[in-house]
Subunit: 227 residues, 6 copies
């Protein structure tokens, strides 16, 4: 893993429709539907509020302070992809700005998830090109050292394989392995189906303690009420 | 302190009106009025800008990755309360989302202060249910281990007793012990009374050096001006 | 360096027009125009989005928890200045709020860059007085210990001399030594001149790989494509 | 809470013998004996390895960059005390060095726990005066602003009342409220009583799975073994 | 990835001898021999200095504050294994202490790498059971929620598959995929072969500039010497 | 400042004897003698305990993940120098190991201060070549991008000019501008002269409150004693 200097051109992407539909549920529901796994670390934040996207991952492995591979990755993008960029070491430099975003958008990318820094955030917000990053930084990068494109990477603490589905919104970024995408979509839909009913009950003042029948297990666990 | 597995049902809340009125002054003024103490650590940030609330604390002690006690706490909420959730260890998991918020809001809570993670922030923003948290994270939690409700807790570096007044806004979160609430309210009001006059002087170009008569003490302290 | 208890009254400011014009290009372009140096650490964030300013630096060295020198600095401000405040140790206290902002604005300051905390951010946003800080905190400060004004300081990892040009926007804060201001302005203008053309090409689907002629150097560096 | 400018001279200390005996068990066992509460955050580290002490707390509240109150605290020390110093804001300055240690040791203090920085660590190691701190720093402090002595404080995320028992070793720092000291000592002793037997079983190759009878609950929880 | 509630009993371990021999070279040389990849983040630190081990990975996925799976993992240990424990969220609790170490050691484990906290470090040091962890903490954990054993995990930013070789010493922790173990061993040996000669040259005063023939490429890159 | 691609060969070093003698006092005393300024941030830690050195600075500016300039710097070292390496961005890679240390030592360097990572720490400890660094990491670096040697740098938050005196020990790293070296040495000597007497008094039980005559100023400041 983390092989350097290679670009895999033919990756097996998760089903495009499934990938797209997962985005509708948002990262929290998808994370639950996955069985409570798959989430990147919460230091990954959107550069502007309100974006909610999903796509199939084109992965990039960067070297610190070097964005050469972002240009290599651009060529591998297909419509509906989301680029996921990891770095061989913790680094906050601004690997990505408005010019690359213009190129990515022209290729059909729906967003970028980068375990590094991003710049030109005002322009990116105006372009409606969403980015989730660990930092915002004006610092430019060089083009001197090889990384890789479309190899398995670890981004913000989570393994990502090329072609996996990535769901990102204001709450964070979740990775769904391609093989589990359909099953996760169904689970997410089932999960959301009865959320409306639950919300109505809670809004009417019914307690989760009663709705979820927690009083007995709490008592069993030894909870004591003191007046 | 930090007793596990207990829920205190009858807590002595600070006067409801005083608690409410303190919110009008905001965290910075209240912190000054307290004699410059009572502030939680600044990593506690609002999930959306512009909220300014105050209320009486219902406290919760959580275990990492476990939000069982949030449901127990919901039942203890009275209108005008603000829930203050601490955790036995540093943890950023998403203990709180839109369903719990619906329940808390139905019970009359004015907000949540949580030394942990929060999710569904987009929906919470639309619901106008303000949360101050150390993180935003999709990560769901289990319901397996007991914590406590309405015991004294330490939240973001500050002691909070059930019934204390909590004032939160864009600048941070301040805790006012119930016994000091009225005195602090008076001090805050007095403090704010002459802020308008000060602001007008400063806006007209008068220097703080002169307005606060700092030139002499600065000279005494040894400040040297060099041309 | 870091001499305590002195105020330099006569500092040599970079040319006012040059300082102003640099702001138009933003921190990312100016940082590139400088040869990729001069950037403060990315933990420095604006208190509200969208501000983009530049000015000549009035520097302040603060002691932790003490904002006495901010009042001393106010007197040294001339129209078009931006105040740059460093601290002798890492500290997030709220050294600056709406009263000082009123005074700074009255003196003609265009903004504040502070390696410490800021408060009253809601009011500052309404006043349109931009601040870049390491933290937001209600915590007030005392006035007991001398620092200095207009000495060379290190702010967020970058050296700043009084009179240097500071450019700040959503991407971060860049420092341009006064002696390099004109040269940097020219370089920034040249750099920006052909950005429009590049953007158009990339938007049309031309790849950076081709536009920047990267294919050959990538091959030389050993990049392998695998189908 | 966090009242400034006061020194409480007559504090009620936990029983001296109980306080001393608790130290024998170490922080991990005492923390378990407390019901898994009472631990300071793990950023508190000893300045040298191998020290294991316990004592009754004399508390200090410091201002950032100011160690005036450490001198005030010295006078309040009685033999067998351990000084616990909190700070009104996160600060790593070197509040404590070999001169203060000489004074504390002369007064009978067994150690210092400080949510701030410490210096002269080489000399302190030679003196065998143990310190648990959040940082090591040469940075000296001023004596300009009042804090307090022997008020309740929050140190490294844990509430400490004057007179509480503090147990510190290589694993961390635990606080035992004075009222619970005897009960905790008994629980710790009981807990340790059968540790030797457990260790012997495990050393012989018996698995915790069997010794603690975990196989059934694991199966009930749904654990699946796959060959 | 990150499947919960499963234990894989039959994992394919890297060749035992190769795994053992890799340890002789240390993490820095192995990391270079891998082509400069495979390293965990540097926050992973040994609990005592001087240990240098290698082994085949038994992986564990933990839940925050819960060490149940460590007991499940113990049964899967074979002589020469090193346990690698990841957690579903950042957590510093003391998942591991002297009792578990006694059990692990009895099963033949050579060490533990844990992206969480460790306790009883004094005893572990005396037992010579090396641990690399993100924190040291007395905080005990519960046994309530399932994780997994011998699934692929991400530990401290690096993917680890069960059976991979892990090399750990004072410099850090490197993961060598089982399939690359032999090749990496050969590369490490070749690399070390001429280190002695290089060291002798450098010790005699010959510069790396000359030994590595860097003067020409530096000049080409534009380095200027100024007298 | 932070000019890239240049090496200044003729730097003006502080007086060699003064530089050497300053080391005798240690970083805490020198920092006080400087008027409480000049200290690097406390994240800079020695790789082994007990080293105490001082020397004249040869400065290096590195790019992230690239140690090319360390080799260039080696040639500029003169006996008694200490190398001070800064980086254009936060980076923990292992820029320095035993081979470079052999070369530096052969050239007469007394140590290294690096705002980055260091590796081979076991060997460096055996070689008695002291390093103060922000991290320990096996991660190797490339040699692809120019930095500079002997330009003014900011290292761990402190400005360092080539030729300045650097004093480093277990408490941290202090920088003394060359022009202030002699004056600082005298101040340090004067400061230390009466430390012995103070220590004896404090050891005999005399309080700092009395020795430093603090009772009156404390009373004036409003300190209240409560029985």
């Amino acid at each position: 893993m983390h092989e350097l200097g290679v670009v895999y051109r033919n990756i097996k992407r998760a089903d495009r429709d499934v990938a797209h539909d997962l985005g509708r549920f948002g990262s929290a529901t998808v994370h639950e539907a996955m069985g409570r796994v798959g989430l990147m670390k919460p230091y990954m934040r959107p550069i502007y509020a309100g974006a909610q996207v999903s796509g199939t991952a084109v992965t990039v492995l960067l070297q610190p302070g070097d964005n050469w591979m972002m240009h290599v990755a651009a060529e591998q993008i297909q419509p509906g992809d989301i680029v996921v960029a990891a770095c061989t070491t913790d680094n906050t430099d601004g690997f990505f700005g408005d010019l690359l975003a213009t190129s990515f958008q022209a290729r059909g990318a729906v967003g970028l998830v980068i375990d590094g820094g991003c710049r030109d955030v005002k322009t990116l917000s105006e372009m409606k090109f969403p980015v989730w990053s660990r930092a915002i930084s004006s610092k430019g990068t060089v083009k001197a050292t090889l990384g890789s494109v479309n190899i398995p990477v670890v981004c913000a603490g989570m393994s990502v394989n090329p072609g996996d589905v990535v769901v990102a919104d204001d709450d964070g970024v979740v990775v769904v392995p391609a093989a589990l995408a359909k099953k996760t979509l169904d689970a997410a839909a089932a999960r959301e189906a009865n959320e409306g009913e639950k919300r109505a009950k809670l809004a009417s003042g019914i307690l989760g303690l009663d709705m979820y029948k927690m009083r007995e297990p709490l008592e069993k666990a030894g909870l004591r009420y003191i007046d």
